[in-house]
C-alpha cells in the first residue's frame, strides 16, 4: 500500500519516516557508496527540509515499511539543479511547473512482499513508480526528471517509463549516474495500470488520511 506524505506533515508518520531515513542510509551510503551525510543512522539532506512529497510503500496488513521515494517541484530547490548540475551541459537546467524531480528511491526486501513481475521487477520499486503516475494526475504533471543508476534505469524501462537520458553520465560514488526524463502521460498510465493489475497493487489512498490527521 502506498502513502503520500507531505514533508510538512511528516511528523504525523513517525514510523514510516524513521524506517525511510534508515533505509536511505543503508542504500545510498553503505551499498551505493554515495557521498551522502548519515547522522544517527539517518540519511537526510537539505531537500528533506524543503517540504518534499514522500511516497512510502508499506505492507498493507502490518503497515511495515517496504520502500520510499521523494518528489520535489523543479520550480523550487531540487537536486539536479542544486547538487548535480555537472550531469547537465553547462547552462542547461530543468525548471517547469509540470516537471517534478524524483530522488532517493529505495526499498527493503522482507518476507510477505509479493513476487517479482514477469519482467523481473521488484514489486516495491514498481509500486513506487506507479505511485508517481498517480501523483502526476493529482498534481497535473507531464514529466518526471531524476538522477539514477543503471539498476533504476532498468526498472524504469521495465515498468514502461521509457526514460530519455539527458546530459552526460558521471561517476557518483561507486556507480555511474545518469539524469533522465520520462513522460507521465496516457502511455505511462496504461503501462502502469497493466502492471498494477498483474501485481495486484492498490492505488495510493492515504492523501486523505494525512489530511484528516493534520486537522485532528
Amino acid at each position: 500500500m502506498l502513502k503520500l506524505i507531505e514533508g510538512s506533515r511528516a511528523s504525523l508518520f513517525p514510523m514510516e519516516m524513521d524506517a525511510m531515513f534508515r533505509n536511505r542510509a543503508i542504500t545510498f551510503s553503505e551499498r551505493l557508496g554515495w557521498d551522502v551525510t548519515v547522522k544517527d543512522g539517518y540519511e537526510r539532506d537539505e531537500f528533506d527540509d524543503a517540504n518534499p512529497l514522500y511516497l512510502v510503500s508499506v505492507d498493507p496488513k502490518t503497515n511495515e515499511y517496504w520502500g520510499s521515494l521523494r518528489l520535489l517541484p523543479t520550480t523550487g530547490p531540487n537536486m539536479l539543479r542544486d547538487v548535480f548540475p555537472c550531469l547537465l551541459a553547462e547552462g542547461e537546467f530543468i525548471e517547469s511547473a509540470t516537471i517534478w524531480e524524483s530522488s532517493r528511491i529505495c526499498a527493503v526486501a522482507v518476507d510477505g512482499q509479493p513476487q517479482r513481475s514477469r519482467q523481473g521487477v521488484n514489486f516495491v520499486l514498481s509500486e513506487l513508480i506507479a505511485g508517481i503516475g498517480e501523483v502526476a494526475i493529482i498534481a497535473g504533471l507531464t514529466q518526471i526528471v531524476s538522477v539514477f543508476d543503471a539498476r533504476i534505469y532498468r526498472v524504469l524501462k521495465a515498468v514502461g517509463c521509457n526514460p530519455q537520458l539527458i546530459g552526460r553520465p558521471r561517476r557518483i560514488g561507486a556507480t555511474m549516474s545518469y539524469a533522465g526524463l520520462f513522460d507521465t502521460g496516457e502511455g505511462l498510465l496504461a503501462a502502469l495500470t497493466a502492471f498494477r493489475e498483474e501485481l495486484g497493487i492498490e492505488p495510493p489512498e492515504s492523501k486523505e488520511l494525512a489530511k484528516e490527521l493534520a486537522f485532528a
Binding site: S8, P73, G76, E95, I138, K211
Partner: protein
Amino acid sequence: MGNVTIESAAIRLTDTILGYNEQDLEETLKAIALDIGVSNIAYMRFAPDKSSDASLLTGTVTYSFQWQTRYFLKQYVLIDPVIAYGGKAVLPFDWDELARDDPAVQAFFSDALTHDVGHNGLSIPVRNRRGVYSLVSYTSNHAKSEWQEFKKSNMVKLQLISVLIDSAASVNLKLSSPPVKLSKREEQCLIWAARGKTYQDISDILNISFGSVKSYLDTARHKLNCANLTHAVGVAIATGVIPAKALQGSSFK
C-alpha cells in the same frame, strides 16, 4: 466548462512578467478568470519562514471588495482552512477535502458562499527558487460533476498558469532578489521599527545609543535598497528578511 485554452492567460501573464502589461495584477487575474471560465482567482504568498507555520504575507484576489473587507475585519485569515492547509501543502487540493468539523470553519464557508466566493475551490501550491511558498486558488459555481471534469481535464494547464501567476506577482511586488543578510543588531532594530517603535524607544529597549539605532536602520535600509524606513520594513517582511512572526505581540496602543 470542458477544456480550457490558456493561451490568452499565458500571454497576459508573460506580458506582465516582461513589463509590457501595465495593468495591476488584480485586473489581470480578473481577465484570466473570464478567459478560463472560473469565478475567482486568489493568489497568496507566504513568508519563507524556517519555522513550521508559514504565515500569510500578501495576496491578490478577485473577490468582491465587500468580501475582502469582511475577511479582513473578521480576521478570517485565522480560521480559513485554505490558508492553514495550503501554506504548507505540496499537492493541489480541492476545498471539499478540507476538514469542516469546526463550526467556525463551517460558518466561514457559508459566509464566503453568500459573498460569491464560489461553491467549488481548488488550490495549487507553487514554490520558487528561493523556497518561497505561494498558493493559487480557483473557484467556480459549476455543478460538482462539471467541476470534477474541469479539474481532471485542466490540471496541467492550471499548474502552468499558477506558476506564471506567481512569477507575475513577484514582478509586481518588485521583491529584491538575492536574499539580503542583515546583522543581528540591524535585524533587531528593524523588527522593533516594524512593531511601531521610535528610534528613542528602540535605543531604550536594546540599551544602545540613539545614534547607533539610526545607523543600524540606515544600513539595513541601504542593504534592502529602499527609499525610507517604511519601505524597508515592508520589503524586509515581504522578502522574509525579517520573519513575519517576529511582529506578533505588536499593537497600536
